[in-house]
Structures are given as C-alpha cells and as structure tokens.
C-alpha cells in the first residue's frame, strides 16, 4: 500500500493539537504542532482521549519508543504545551527507559522546533506553566549541546529555533535558527522533497509598534506547511498553523505580503487562538458596542483556496459574548470560506454517530488538496483508532495471511 500524508486535528477543547504525518521516501515523518493533553481526557468519556489517539497514530522506533520526528511548539501557553512534562521524554536519549507495565511509554522527540521565547526571562507578562518550564529546560539542554559541540546533535538532542532572539542571544547558534522568510524542507535533518514550509512568525519585537510589551500571543510561531503528495515535490496542500497569533501580528503580515497574497493562501487554516475575536479586532467583543474588524488582519486570513476549511480548535461556539471561541470571529471566518466554497468547522462538533466525545478530524493530503477522511462506523470491523495506527495503516499489505510465492 502506498503511503499517504495526512493531517490530524485532535480535539482538545480550547487548545491546539495537530499531528502531521508526512509520507516521503516510503516512510512517514511525524510532526506534532502543539499539544494540550489534559489528565481529564483520559478519564472523562465526554472528552476525546487524545493521548490514546496520539499513541495509536505514532510508530515506534527500533528501540520500541513511540516517537515524533519533530515537535513544534508555537508558544509556551498551557493550551499549546499542556501534557509535555508528563507524557513526553526529556533528557539524554541514553537514559530512556520503557514504561512500567500498564503505563504508556513516554514519547521520544527526535527534534524540537521552538520559538526563541525560551531564552526570555520570566516577566509579568511572560509567566510559564509547569509544562512550559519543563519544555524550556529540555530545549535549553539541547541548545547547550549544540553550543558545546557546534554540530547538530544526535536524534533526541536536536533542536531548531524558529526566529532569532533579541539582543543577539542566538547569534552564536545561527546554524540551528530558521529565520522568517526562510523555507524549510527538512525535518530531523532529513530533506523531504514533498515539504515546503514558509515561516511567517514569530515576528520580531521591533516589528510591533509597542515593542516593549512582550506578548506570547504576538510571538507565536506561524508556519505555512506546503505538502505535496507522496513522491511529488510541488505542494498541493497548504496548511496555515499560527498558534495564538494576534490581530497585530496579522496586520504586520498583511503589510508584508499584500502584494503577494498567494503566499498566505491555505486549504486548511486553524483559526488562530481558538477562534478568538482578538485575532481579527483590537476591540473587545463583549465591551464594545460596535467592535470593528481589522480589515488588514482579515485580509491576511482571507486567502482561502477553493474548498478551504477553517477549523476552530475550541470548545463549542455559542451565539454569545464568549471569547475564545467567539461567535463574531466565527461569523467572519464563515464569510471568508463562503466566498471560497469552503467550510468552517469546530472540532468540538466533530462528533461521530452520537458518541459523547468529539473525534479526531483527519484529512488526507492529496494531489487535489485535502480530502476529508470519512468517519468509519462502529459496524466496521476495525475501530477508527486501530485503523489509524501505523502498523495497520494498510488493510491489504499488512494484515491477514502472507501471500507467498511459488
């Protein structure tokens, strides 16, 4: 069975968790962009057990470790990094030990992609949750290894920074720093011809009018993933993942790219900041009588290709003043996709067959753009989770009796 690239949006309430499974050279590369794995998801039946889903989707390496080729953290907020400390391995790869019986193995991260925020000192507007602190420790460990050896480390010790830090803090490690405008086509030191990533953020502090106020939401990593079908090199799927990038960030981005708006085009857009109004407006949705949409921010987010899907990774969106997710923002996104014959989806609403918990939303990334994968009904003999595991990704080639030869 030919391997095919897919994207999985894991429903985590108001948070982001997206897995990219990129097929290249007859293998898969697994990239997780953000995570929000709450303890409750493993206990409550009205929440998707995203930890189980993630483990089902990942392969194990030759040492039996479930692994990611890369983990991308857009910014270190709890709803983007929750679960890192508990469920992901940190430290020297040689010290990895299998989990005790009945427990899940920690996920081994071959390469980390992080914004340079890890170098910032704790400030009033830059507090870190426990997961973010653990992530910072691990990221810094990897950076120090690079600093010491001045060469890219082995798997499990690798790190790439997306964007330079202020005050020349990253000047001595520029070889592992991707800068805005760079194009990435490598994951975990492997060149992938099917992959073309544009970097649009984080924006540097001096690009903002108020450069003093460090705001994690302004500093989100913003990547546009261009992915070609397995074996091809011209991307046919464009996915814009921007963390919690704020209205100020989108205004700057529009200023930069308004003359080349196709660079911002997408087939799939994860509505920034869980469909927050503040992605599109400077005004408060609940406190302003007539909150105005920033036209330039909206323009930046309006480059939807035909059939584009905007996904709100959030709780259900109600017709009220809540933010995020925000009903007004949803209305704006609806207007964007309607002009492109597209769709707006809320992950919380991706509930199959009357089940209580929302399901993982999967798209295959094909020659003709994203192709939503049908939900399989429970009547099918393989469960949806089992069906998605790498080991059983092919019903034909990898299950049943071997077909021998004479």
């Amino acid at each position: 069975m030919i391997k095919k690239s897919s994207i999985y949006h894991l429903p985590v309430g108001n948070g982001d968790m997206t897995l990219l499974k990129i097929a290249s050279n007859n293998r898969y590369f697994y990239v997780l962009v953000d995570m929000y794995i709450r303890q409750s998801c493993t206990e409550k039946d009205d929440q998707c057990n995203v930890l189980d889903e993630l483990h089902n989707l990942l392969e194990k390496d030759s040492d039996g470790r479930p692994y990611l080729d890369a983990l991308v953290i857009t910014h270190p907020d709890k709803d983007h990094i929750g679960g890192f400390e508990k469920y992901f391995y940190q430290g020297s790869p040689s010290n990895y030990t299998p989990a005790k019986s009945g427990e899940k193995d920690l996920i081994f991260i071959r390469e980390i992609w992080s914004s340079p925020l890890i170098f910032r000192r704790k400030r009033k507007n830059h507090s870190l949750c426990e997961d973010a602190k653990a992530f910072n420790t691990e990221a810094k460990r990897r950076v120090e290894l690079y600093r010491e050896s001045k060469s890219v480390s082995s798997e499990g010790n690798r790190i790439r920074l997306i964007g330079e830090d202020i005050d020349g803090k990253t000047d001595d490690i520029l070889d592992i720093v991707y800068k805005p405008e760079d194009i990435i086509s490598k994951i975990n030191e492997v060149s992938i011809k099917e992959l073309t990533i544009n970097i649009y953020g984080p924006l540097s502090d001096d690009e903002f009018e108020d450069s003093e106020a460090l705001d994690k939401n302004r500093s989100s990593v913003i990547l546009r993933w261009g992915i070609a079908s397995h074996g091809y090199s011209d991307p046919t799927n464009f996915i814009l993942l921007a963390g919690d990038a704020s209205v100020e960030a989108w205004e700057i981005i529009w200023r930069k790219y308004k003359d080349a708006p196709q660079k911002l085009s997408y087939d799939l857009l994860l509505a920034p900041h869980h469909c927050s109004w503040h992605t599109l407006s400077h005004d408060s949705y609940s406190k302003s009588a007539n909150p105005k949409v920033s036209e330039s921010a909206k323009q930046a987010l309006s480059q939807a290709r035909t059939g584009a899907v905007i996904i709100s990774s959030s709780d259900p969106i109600k017709d009220d003043d809540n933010d995020p997710p925000n009903f007004g923002a949803k209305r704006e996104y609806d207007s964007i996709v309607s002009s492109a014959n597209g769709t707006f989806l809320c992950l919380a609403g991706n509930v199959v067959n009357g089940e209580k918990a929302p399901s993982v939303l999967e798209y295959r990334l094909t020659n003709e753009g994203p192709q939503k994968t049908s939900e399989t009904l429970s009547a099918d003999s393989t469960s949806s989770a089992k069906k998605r595991t790498a080991a059983t990704s092919s019903l034909i080639g990898h299950s049943g009796q071997a077909i021998g030869h004479g």
């Binding site: 397995h230 059939g307 003709e368 939900e375 019903l395 034909i396 299950s399 071997a402």
Partner: protein, 601 residues
C-alpha cells in the same frame, strides 16, 4: 453477464456479505440486482471522499462523484473466488488503473496489485471492499497515478500481437535524444491471422538516417518476416495519461502531430515505402511483408510501472496498403503488447542486482553436471559473461542431472559446451564455447582464457587439469576450483590467494588433512565404494550413481559462494577453502578456512 437464473437460492455466504455490506460505512445502498450463471450481481452506492475543493460541486473535475455506483458480481463459488467490481457505464475511462474495457461488460477498475481472490483469502472480504474504497478515493484525489508505485502504461482495450524487445537497450539509447531511429523488426504470422503476430525488435538501433535502413533487410526468410521498425522519441516530459485510441494511420499521425513528430515520421515513411512496401518488394522479386512497426517513446514524469525508467514505449503495427505507393490514412494500425525479451539487464533486475553493476567475465573449465549447473546459475543472474572449455560430448544419461535438458536425437553427441552455451545464449548472455581439452589448450595458450576473464573456475574434477592449472598454466585470472565428493554429499570451492599463493592444489591438500579430524570429510572423500555404471558401449561411459537433487543443491550453493566472493570484490590475500556438507535431510553445513601464503610457500 450470463443467463439469468432467478430461482437459484443465494448462498448463505453471499447473504452474509450482503448483510455486512449494508453495515459498511462506505456503502450508502445495497440491492441484489440479478442472479445468473456468473453469480449474484449486487448493486451498491459507494461513498467517495472528495477533496474539499470539489465537495460543493459533488464531483471532481475528472468526473468522480461523491456517490459512485459499484456492482459486485459474487460468483456462486464465493468465497472460493472473490467478487468482482464494475463501475457505471459512463465512468470516466481516461483514468489509469482501469482494466481493458470489453464492450458491454462495464468498467472494471484494477483495485489491487494482487489478484482479488488472493486478497480475499489473505485478508478477508473487508480488504477487497477496502481496496475499492481506496481506489475510488484515489480516483477522486488524482492519485491513481503514483510516483512511488510507478506510471501506469496507456490502457489498450484492443491489443493485437505480441512484440518482444530488449527494452533496457532501447531505453538506454533514449538517453541521447533523436527524433527517429531505425531498428530491424522480424515477426511471424500464426495461422495466417494478423492478430496472431509474434514479433521481435532487434537491438541496437541502426541509426537515424534513411540510408541506415536498406532494402536488403526486408523480406521473408523461412516464414520469418523482416521489416523496419521506427522508434519515434518525444522531446520533453508528458504528464497526460490517456487510453489508446489509435486504430488507423490517421489516428497515429494525430498522436505524432501532438508530439511534433509527424514531419519526422512522414520523412521516414517515404523511405519505408521505398524499401519495404509490397510494391518495393515486388520490384525486387521478393515476397512482400504485411506491416512495419512504429514505437513511440514517451517520457513520463516518473518511472513507468515495471520499467524502473520513465520512458513508456508504445508500439504500433502499421499495415501496408496492397500494392499502392503511398499509405492511405485509413490503413489499419494495430496496438500490440510489448514484452521484455530475456536479456542480462532483465535478469539483473529480476535477480535484484544493481543495473549498474559491472559485467564480470568468467571462464569455466568443465561443463559436466556440476559445471553446467553452476554456469547456468551464474548466467541467470545477468551479471556474468562466459567462456566455456570442455571437449566432452553429451550422452543421453547426462540428462539425469545436467544443467540443460537435451531433447532430440540430433543433440545427442553434441559438445557439452555447445549445449550449455545454447542455454546461456537463450538468456541473452554473452558466451564463447570452446570444445577443446584444457590440457591441449594449455599447450598453445598457457593463460587458458583471454585477458578480460578475471576468474577461471575449474569444475572438471580432473587431477591432471588441476595439476596443470596449479603448476604450468600462466594465469592472470583468479583461479577457483570446485569439486564434489561422496556422491554429492560434500562440495568444495577452493579460491587461490593473491599472486597465486596459496594455489588450489595446496588448498586441496589441506582438504585432505582435514580428514584426520573430520569424519564427515573423510567419509565423503574416502569412505565407501563409489558406485559407477556404464550407460553406453565400453567403460568410458561409466558414471557415478547419484540423483540430481543433492547435486543441484550443492551446485547452487557453490555457485552462490562464487557469486558472493566475486561480489565482495575484495579478494583476500589468503587462499580460501569453502567446504559444504549436505546431509540426508538436505541440510547444508558450511565451513571455511583461510590459508595464509606462508603456510605452504
């Protein structure tokens, strides 16, 4: 569809699968359509995942709908045989991976690389339906053509004739662009039916200019027709997939025009008519041939399925038009199947050997049972070219365990080298047979083999030959010696070290010393009486009594060791002795000994 038999009861197994289909998430509707001799036809509506950009339209640009009608015919013997799917009659036929379309039989998608019955028995009914789902989803996403799997060749619904060629050699020539090349084409017409044509394209090409193809190449000799073939090479990469639509000359010209090759074709056509048409043949008082061949070479964006190369070769048999000087546009053009002829490149490919691996010349001394089998094993790898040295002739009893099977009275008494060479040549592998005694040859040619032969393998089991090769021959090649003992219970492969030290006689002497401690070796070499029997007049026809099986196992294993040693391409300084014991249960047990030169010298 066979005759309707509505009263026949649907089997419980088919009823079960109908129930299962009704629950299957990709099926929107299920209905028993008919029962006939062929089986039970079940119509289903299959859900297709459309790419998001086609969702609002409900169908793709190529015409795939979000719900596709699929009819499954379950044979009465199901589950012994798998159900077969067909699609709606107006399903887009321009897509790849559709089986040749037979009028009135519906569109049959090729949904799995293996036979559906094999898939059914390997992985169950769900896998068969899963394959249908994958196929339709791939059709919708424009991924039926996949670079990883390979480019699906143009579908030809009506093929006529079978043309073989060394397609590797043709594709090699395509590395240098030339719009047109001439080849020699020979064919036979079976039973006078122009559909039953077996043809062959001779490689390499003759070249591009008209002057390269001469009238003397055309004619009928012993029923074999000789005619020209034109290879037309498209410049650039063609990403469009199409189904064959050529059935007359004007169609072919249309295709050539599309690729800007029509002028080149027309220019050669005049020469083809002048040299090869029935009228041209008649003017030279030769019987006329019926057709010539056109091969269109189209470069695809990735490797063509089964070719490991992006050049697709489309062959057309163009019929001559009676006695006229020009071909009318409506002369029939047939689309034959093209198959690879056996050639070293194909042998390498099938054997899993790198196409770029260098060809290794090896000289065999001795074409007996062991030598013939070892030579053929190595020849089938496509990696070697041979000289064969032996002065013996073939006797009918040799058939009991010879590499070649010799049929017919004429071949009895034939030199063994000729018989083995015949089989090696049939593989398309270069071989030079020499019916000569190695000792006689050595008198005039102490080097035995030409300089290009880097290895000499002595399989004669002749002590004088071994002595000559060890002491008198002036060899530049690496000498190997292979021999069996104990009625094919022990095989030996001795390989001389660098600068002929340690020599093969030293290594064989060492083999004798092993008998002191090794009972198996002693028993094979010296234990028991060797049974011999004569199968002709006189005692010279006496041969050892043993069956072919053990000998075949040992000869294959020894050939494998030769191949491995040569493949490693790093001849050690030491002499190598490989000994293989074969027990009664056909289990092989190898021991190896490296002997340093100082040991004997």
């Amino acid at each position: 569809m066979g005759k309707l038999k509505p009263k026949r009861e649907i089997t419980p197994e088919i009823k079960d699968v109908i129930r299962w289909l009704k629950e299957y998430s990709f099926v929107a509707a299920v209905q028993v359509k008919s029962c006939s001799d062929d089986g039970v036809a079940i119509s289903t509506n299959w859900r297709v995942d459309l790419p998001t950009k086609f969702e609002s339209a409900g169908k793709t640009e190529s015409g795939i709908r979000s719900i596709e009608a699929v009819t499954w015919v379950f044979p009465w013997e199901y589950p012994l045989c798998a159900p077969q799917p067909t699609l709606r009659e107006d399903f887009p036929l321009t897509l790849p991976h559709i089986n040749p379309v037979v009028e009135g039989e519906g569109v049959s998608p090729c949904i799995a690389e293996v036979d559906l019955t094999d898939l059914l028995h390997s992985s169950g009914t769900e896998a068969v339906f899963g394959a249908m789902t994958h196929w339709l989803n791939n059709a919708a996403s424009g991924e039926l053509l996949c670079p990883v799997q390979g480019w699906e060749p143009v579908r030809r619904d009506n093929t006529s004739g079978l043309i073989s060629a060394d397609t590797y050699a043709i594709r090699e020539e395509l590395k240098n662009y030339a719009p047109v090349r001439y080849f020699k084409y020979r064919y036979t017409v079976l039973s006078g039916d122009t559909d039953l044509v077996l043809g062959h394209i001779e490689t390499p090409s003759l070249g591009s200019p008209n002057t390269e193809f001469k009238a003397k190449y055309v004619g009928i000799i012993n029923g074999i027709r000789h005619s020209p073939a034109l290879l037309l090479q498209v410049d650039g990469i063609v990403e469009e997939y199409w189904a064959e639509s050529v059935d007359k000359l004007s169609d072919l010209k249309g295709v050539l025009r599309k690729f800007k090759l029509c002028d080149a074709f027309e220019a050669r056509l005049k020469h083809v008519m002048a040299t090869s048409s029935p009228k041209a043949c008649a003017s030279k008082r030769k019987a006329g041939v019926e057709e010539f061949l056109v091969v269109l070479a189209v470069k695809r964006p990735f490797n063509v399925l089964g070719a490991n190369n992006p050049w697709e070769l489309l062959t057309y048999r163009v019929c001559f038009d009676g006695n006229s000087e020009q071909l009318s546009d409506d002369v029939p053009v047939h689309a034959p199947l093209m198959i690879k002829s056996t050639c070293p490149a194909m042998l390498r490919s099938v054997s899993g050997i790198d196409q770029n691996a260098e060809v290794i010349p090896i000289s065999f001394i001795g074409c007996g049972s062991l030598g013939s089998k070892m030579a053929l094993h190595l020849a089938k790898s496509g990696r070697y070219e041979f000289s064969l040295i032996d002065d013996d002739i073939f006797s009918s009893h040799n058939n009991a365990r010879y590499g070649a099977v010799v049929d017919g009275f004429d071949s009895i008494g034939c030199p063994k080298v000729s018989l083995v060479a015949r089989d090696i040549q049939a593989l398309g592998v270069k071989v030079k047979p020499l019916k000569v005694d190695a000792l006689e040859l050595g008198k005039s040619k102490p080097a035995i083999a030409d300089k290009k032969f880097r290895y000499i393998l002595d399989t004669t089991a002749s002590l004088p030959v071994r002595y000559f090769l060890a002491h008198h021959a002036k060899l530049s090649a690496c000498l190997m010696h292979s021999i069996l003992f104990g009625k094919a219970t022990m095989g030996v492969l001795a390989i001389e070290g660098k600068e002929r030290s340690v020599r093969v006689d030293d290594l064989m002497a060492f083999t004798n010393t092993l008998c002191v401690k090794d009972d198996l070796t002693q028993k094979a070499m010296y234990g028991g009486a060797v049974t011999r029997e004569s199968f002709g007049d006189g005692c010279s026809s006496a041969t050892t009594i043993m069956d072919d099986i053990g000998l075949s196992i040992l000869s294959a294993a020894l050939a494998g060791r030769v191949n491995k040693h040569i493949g490693e391409n790093t001849g050690p300084d030491e002499g190598l002795l490989n000994i293989c014991h074969l027990d009664k249960n056909y289990k092989l047990d190898w021991t190896s000994h490296a002997r340093a030169r100082s040991y004997f010298c």
